[in-house]
Amino acid sequence: MALARGGCGDAVVTADIAGWTDAPRPAPVRGALRIENAVKHYGVGASRVLALDGCSFDVRAGEICVVVGPSGCGKTTLLHAAAGFHGLDGGTIHLDGRLLCGDGSDATAPPGSDRVVVFQNGALLPWKTNLENVMLGPRFQGRAPIAQVAAKARRLMRDAGLEGYENAYPGETSSGVKRRVEIVRALMNDPAVLLLDEPFRALDSLTKSMMHAALLAIHAQNRSTIFFITHDIEEAVFLGSRVVVMTSRPGRTKEVIDVDIPYPRTYDVLTSKRFREHVQAATSIVHEEALRAYERGEREGRAS
């Protein structure tokens, strides 16, 4: 896995930004994640499971890198290690050259606002309004006066089409709006990399396609690196500049697919020949792994 970092479709992204006059100046592109030989076990004794076994790939600065793989292949383990929720048993993860996870738990960097996680079922605080939720990160960090934070939150919410939802509670808002509020909340921290753990999994297909458009628009504007996990191959190909396919447990990198479809991507892409070819290629690889995982599950089921 010797992949060059940086310089991936930047020109296209910048061209799209020109339309946003009141958008903040794009931050220097950062957020390159380098995952090398990641190894992770779960459990102890007889129930010890090898979740990751020498998984390596790069997430280039400023790109949307989508990781697909069968259930239990260690995608989420990898993302949680990058987030700082737990360490690795072997290998390293670097963010822009800084060691996040090393061999030995003492080298694990604690969770930080430079790599914010968005979970699949949502984690908005139900007792805070949407606006207050969006303001949480900077409030936790105590790095700016409240009026300034509120102004920025309102601006980002407006840019994401969330005007009018500021004072509603998450419980009063639809699932699609909640997902966008969460992504905006993550962006409030100016993260180097956004860690999205199947963020659209629980949504219906219509809302999901709206979310894809919203995420691509946000990314075009913001250019923060996105590390995106999913089961959905079409979603992966539609969003990702590269798609990393992982093997079934223990997780390794099986293949990295370069999606040579230029941004900005619209729904026309979904019916294009190139898109179908990529989906087909990715599907056959993922299926092979899913089948292996299934057969192993069958064996384990009979054995126990």
């Binding site: 987030a83 700082g84 929720f85 604690p110 969770p111 930080g112 606002s113 790599r115 914010v116 996680v117 968005v118 979970f119 079922n121 949502g122 984690a123 908005l124 605080l125 139900p126 007792w127 805070k128 949480l136 990160g137 936790f140 960090q141 509670y169 998450p170 419980g171 009063e172 909640k178 909340r185 993550a186 921290n189 860690l195």
Partner: protein
């Protein structure tokens, strides 16, 4: 009776408009409740006065004071400062015992939830003591504490304490771990995770626990006053609380007053629960819709 069925444009039957149906049903429910109250009062009145119209008292009911006598006693007592002082004394004890249970129980529950080591040490002892009924503590409490007042407060505290701790512990255990992870991911320090995530998430459990606990305290205060206040002879009629009021009414043979005392305690319990429910509703207004 096909004429009663409303038919829509396409010929399908149409349901009657909903709000109308609701008011009609609730009106009927109110009427039924009123009828059943009336029946209970009538049976009670007839049973209690059976000695007069039947010649001999009916079993059980024949020994009750009549509702009319209770009402008469109630009217008399409303002008009696002693009655109000009894109620005030019980109320004060409930507030003290319950307040102490909240002040000790909520932090203890939170500490056990946040610190697994402390939990492993404290929880087994807690579970060992929990099955002991609050009233079984009365004699021990009288020995432990220098004044009778403190003994009663302590027994009330015991009654509310376990419920508070268990509710807080359960509430803190069920805080969604993703809320905590997200907060940490956004740079929240430990203190922020506690004060902005764990504590607000536990408030609904504190509210529910308080409502259950205050009900228990009213059960306990009456019994504790009967036992310690009535038994030691130290309490005066006014300072003994409603429990002692009932007991001394029994000893003095003024049976209508017993019933007045019973009703007073029921009302006090209901009102304090309602007050907590109202407060809790204001604290957790966001919880109206599930997120």
């Amino acid at each position: 009776m096909t004429t009663n069925v409303l038919v829509g444009a396409a010929g399908e039957p149409v349901r009657p408009i909903r709000p109308k149906a609701v008011t009609w049903a609730s009106g009927r429910a109110t009427r039924r409740a009123l009828v059943s109250y009336a029946v209970v009062l009538l049976v009670w009145q007839l049973g209690a006065t059976s000695r007069t119209w039947l010649g001999h008292p009916l079993p059980i009911l024949g020994n009750l004071p009549a509702p009319s006598a209770v009402l008469e006693a109630f009217r008399r007592l409303l002008g009696d400062p002693g009655y109000w002082q009894s109620g005030y004394a019980s109320f004060l004890r409930v507030v003290t015992g319950f307040g102490a249970a909240v002040l000790v129980g909520v932090p203890l529950g939170l500490l056990m939830a946040l610190n697994p080591r402390l939990r492993r040490v404290v929880f087994p002892v807690f579970e060992l003591l929990r099955p002991i009924p609050p009233l079984a503590w009365v004699p021990a409490a009288i020995i432990f504490w220098p004044t009778q007042e403190l003994s009663i407060d302590f027994v009330i505290f015991i009654g509310a304490f376990y419920t508070m701790v268990l509710n807080v512990l359960g509430g803190a255990d069920s805080v969604d771990v993703r809320l905590i992870q997200t907060a940490r991911s956004m740079g929240a320090a430990r203190w922020n995770v506690f004060s902005r995530v764990v504590l607000p998430a536990v408030i609904p459990s504190i509210v529910v626990g308080s409502q259950v606990a205050i009900g228990i305290t009213w059960e306990v205060v009456v019994a504790a006053e009967m036992i310690s206040g009535g038994g030691s002879g130290g309490g005066t009629a006014s300072g003994g609380g409603l429990g002692f009021f009932i007991w001394s009414s029994y000893v003095g043979g003024s049976y209508p007053q017993i019933v007045v005392g019973m009703i007073s305690i029921g009302m006090a319990g209901y009102l304090s629960s309602a007050a907590l429910r109202w407060t809790g509703g204001r604290l957790t207004r966001w919880a109206g819709a599930p997120s």
